[in-house]
């Protein structure tokens, strides 16, 4: 079977049939997804009751910054995939440089969020202003905590990579950090769609 696929020019995926990273962390990721899934549905349900309030609140968000932050996280996730690919190919220096890129993009996300929050606070808008802003601040702040936590994980993984901890036979730590980071990206894709775009 393997030979057939190689002959056909279809290399077998290096992690074929294997969960990337630590199984316990995947259970944690599933729990996080369930929690955020409930938040997303609650947001749309509450939006129906006060569509005018939600639409007016959404109009005060800077959608271009929302797009920019989406591009930051998507590209950061992409850099982490490339780091995992480099690890599987035993190219340690590339693992470090790609994780550095991922961390810089994560920092970009945090800086944009800082400016967005600052503008709202300066305008006297906060978590308690109305239902829309309650959801906006609560959901994006919980997510931001995940961005910061994920960044710490990536930083530790990068530090380990500098010490040559990852190679084709030892990928678990790198894959685990990567899986968590992709979850942060996945959750933002929905937050961006719901908070910034859905009318």
């Amino acid at each position: 079977m393997t030979m057939t696929e190689l002959v056909a020019g279809r290399p077998v995926h290096p992690s074929e049939g294997v969960l990337p990273g630590d199984r316990d962390v995947w259970l944690f990721i599933m729990a996080e997804l369930m929690m955020f899934g409930a938040f997303f549905i609650a947001y749309v349900v509450y939006r129906q009751a006060e569509i005018d309030v939600f639409d007016a609140g959404q109009d005060t968000l800077n959608r271009s910054l929302g797009v920019l932050n989406t591009l930051f996280l998507i590209t950061s996730s992409w850099a982490v995939v490339r780091a995992v690919e480099a690890g599987r190919a035993a190219r340690s220096a590339e693992v470090v440089s790609r994780l550095t890129l991922a961390l810089l993009l994560a920092a970009g996300f945090v800086v944009v969020k800082y400016f967005e929050y600052s503008a709202k606070f300066a305008a006297g808008i906060d978590l308690t202003t109305n239902t829309f802003y309650g959801f906006y601040f609560a959901l994006t702040m919980i997510h931001l905590a995940h961005v910061l936590g994920g960044s710490v994980i990536l930083f530790v993984v990068r530090h380990n990579a500098q010490r040559g901890a990852y190679h084709p036979q030892a990928m678990k730590g790198l894959e685990t950090g990567a899986s968590y980071w992709h979850m942060v990206d996945l959750l933002w894709i929905f937050l961006f769609a719901l908070l910034y775009l859905l009318r």
Binding site: L19, I41, R63, V81, I189, L198
Partner: protein
């Protein structure tokens, strides 16, 4: 050996960028009203699926794990679209 994987990674990234820009463009067309709303949720689903399969690399993972995450993604997306279209509101007494 890894070129095929790398190519897919690049392609997925490009698709995610294009869909982000498309979602941004669609949301401007408020005259399309509900279609734009459903399209926004559908695009989030598609982007999420590419992240799950190609970035999280669940495309090649054990079927149980792939099914769990894909079920979450589809379940949440269908629920969002269902709530959005049906106009369900929180059951709070007025």
């Amino acid at each position: 050996m890894t070129h095929g994987l790398t190519d897919r990674t690049h392609r997925t990234w490009l698709l995610l960028v294009l869909l982000t820009v498309a979602a941004f463009g669609i949301s401007d067309h408020t005259e399309w009203a509900r279609y734009a709303g459903v399209a926004t949720i559908a695009i989030a689903y598609l982007k999420g699926r590419w992240v799950v399969l190609d970035f999280m690399a669940l495309r090649h993972a054990p079927p149980l794990w792939r099914s769990l995450v894909e079920a979450w993604l589809l379940g949440v997306s269908v629920a969002l679209a269902g709530v959005y279209l049906s106009g369900i509101t929180p059951g709070v007494a007025a």
